[in-house]
């Protein structure tokens, strides 16, 4: 398979029928920050048969460990968050319509006229909007205030829904040509990849898989998971926006695209929460080059991942993030390429099998 004796042989994970089925199940599940139950159950079902140790901690993170063999094994933590952005019902008005609040960063312009699913039962609802006939041109220039929006579940919803229940967009998973179309690709793609890597865990490391909660409301689950695991290094596995649409003014290039579809996994050098340890950047780029896996650098700038709290845990943990590019993150329908997903999975595996104690032996230099 490979000529380099340092690389531990391990089956390379691939995307096949059962991987698609798992991703579909994950994307269609409802798990808004603070109420990750549905995805947690799927994760537990998948990891319990393959992990050496599994626990669910005080915040609801699933912490699964697979031990490698041999001495001086590096403890590598991988983190993928189970929660998605969504809504909480906050008030039932007299007309049987429900007022709601957003959980996680959602642009309010993405809300009117959408279908949603409410509660553990996935009951159907819609976010209504005023008929255009009744609006004025001036009015249409302004955003519709979130607290004026309501979720309509029909006149006989009764007590089936109450303030406190969560809701998500109703989008169902679909494969369209080279693309996957679903809600919550951020970060069900990461969760799915983490499950695969756990199943194909290489023997040279201890793989500490953290399926975290509450990332979208402040990277909260990852913080306690990292404290618990106390790893030697960490990789956050997420999905990052691709703003690779054309610029209105053709003369100008789009210079703030963040990442582009079809260019492979996005390696983070810096976002607003983490400045990656360069040794890990090199590990990933070397692995990609050796295995012929396309990759891109995520444009340094805003945003944050679980790595943002992991690297600051205890006495410090060298960390980096790798993401699958996807368009329209934090909206009803996201879009990603199957190839980018597959290549991200391959890249992570390629990097893991190349981890040795020498990697972090020296000083951090950039």
């Amino acid at each position: 398979m490979t000529e380099n004796p340092k690389i531990t042989a391990s089956k390379v994970p691939e995307i096949g029928k059962s991987q698609f089925e798992l991703l579909e199940k994950l994307c269609n599940a409802t798990a808004v920050s603070g109420d990750e139950h549905e995805v947690r159950q799927i994760v537990l079902e998948e990891v319990k048969p393959v992990a050496d140790e599994v626990e669910v901690d005080a915040l609801g993170n699933v912490l699964a460990t697979r031990f490698g063999h041999g001495e001086n094994r590096v403890r590598v933590m991988l983190a993928a968050h189970m929660d998605e952005i969504g809504f909480m019902i906050v008030k039932k008005h007299d007309d049987n319509l429900f007022q709601f609040e957003r959980i996680g960063g959602i642009d309010e312009r993405q809300l009117p006229g959408k279908a949603v699913l409410v509660g553990r039962e996935h009951l159907s609802g819609v976010i209504g909007a005023k008929p255009i006939h009744m609006t004025t041109p001036d009015e249409r220039k302004k955003k519709i205030a979130v607290d004026s929006l309501r979720i309509d579940m029909g006149p006989e919803i009764g007590d089936k829904v109450k303030p406190g229940d969560r809701a998500t967009f109703a989008t169902r998973f679909k494969v369209v040509g080279p693309s996957i179309r679903a809600k919550a690709l951020d970060d069900r793609l990461g969760v799915a990849m983490l499950i695969e890597l756990l199943k194909h865990a290489p023997g040279n490391i201890d793989l500490l898989a953290a399926f975290t909660v509450q990332e979208e409301v402040g990277l909260r689950g990852a913080r306690v998971a990292a404290y618990r695991f106390n790893p030697d290094m960490a990789i956050a596995v997420d999905s990052t926006p691709a703003y690779d649409l054309p610029h209105w003014d053709d003369e100008d290039q789009n210079v703030q695209y963040n990442t582009r579809l079809d260019e492979g996994p996005a390696i983070y050098v810096m976002d607003r929460a983490t400045i990656a340890d360069r040794r890990l950047v090199t590990l990933l780029t070397d692995s990609a080059q050796e295995e012929d896996i396309p990759f891109q650098f995520r444009q340094p700038g805003g945003g944050g991942t679980d790595a943002g709290v992991i690297h600051k845990t205890r006495a410090g943990i060298p960390s980096i993030s790798v993401s699958v590019p996807s368009r329209y993150a934090h909206t009803a329908i996201g879009l990603a390429r199957i190839d980018d997903w597959a290549n991200t999975l391959r890249l992570l595996h390629a990097a893991l099998i190349r981890v040795t104690p020498d990697l972090l032996a020296g000083e951090r230099r950039g």
């Binding site: 290039q253 650098f297 444009q299 690297h311 205890r314 410090g316 950039g366």
Partner: protein
Amino acid sequence: MKSLIKQLVETPGPSGFEYEIRDVIREAIGEAADEIRVDALGSLIAKKGKKTEQGLRVMISAHIDEIGLMVTHIDDNGFLRFTNIGGVSPMTCYGGRVLFMNGTRGVIGMDSIEKGKTLKLTDLFIDVGATSKDNCPVKVGDVCGFDRPFLDLGKRMVAKSMDDRVAAAVAIEVLKRLESTPHEVHFVFSTQEEVGLSGATTAAYGVDPDLGFAIDVTRSGDTPRFSPKMATALGDGPAIKVRDSSFIADPRLVDWMIKTAEEADIPYQLEVLEAGGTDGRAIQLTRGGVPAGCVSIACRYIHSPSEMVDSDDVENAVKLLVKLLSEPIVLK
């Protein structure tokens, strides 16, 4: 001390890329420390002194990273777009010069002069003299700091990155001048302060001190129409921080610092900083809590390429810290 400050401020090293400045500091410390180590996030920690019965494990934190820029995009003509590392104001950028870690130098240009009033970082670009993407000596992800030489105005000194290299100089001087101490002192030259106190947070967890001081610059209220009014001024002595926007200094420690300064006849001023945070917070909230304070150097034009401090304030800051560390610290 001026030549040490000059050497420190002129070394490039934005948050996350402190390897060069760390090497310079390590050499400047020489044999003065008992032990030196580098932690997981790259902070340099120099230990000096043995804890006696009346002593404490004390952490001193001076951050060695500076604000800077990182390249996000190179266009077809070799112009670079960038994002900020730490708090960079567009106002201080136009016409400024930058120095990349790989030695490349450049200037910062602006899309259009009309953008003046509402200027954003995305309206600016860096010109390194390249004419195309292919002959550009810099790539996406490369970082630079601002490029300005140290200026000695006699009593006053001007440079970029006085925040916080002047504090690193103070820490090095204190380390060297500290002859006897009842404390076990950990001088932490922390990384990544400008992007969220990361280095001090993890260093404090590792050191697990009984007490801590940060050393940082603070704003100086003595320039025209300074608002909101602030009582600090250049030349009035090292500032004993009462609070800043990130933490409230332990009042018992503040009182002890005042007492110590008065007894040793060291001039001092009291500081309340309304907008600005420091490593002090990271130390205070570590583990089960740590009484923390800060010795500040009043500084004009913070986060511009020409920060100004007073050399007597710097010398007195050294004196104050040496005095504090040479004796027991008693919190009542």
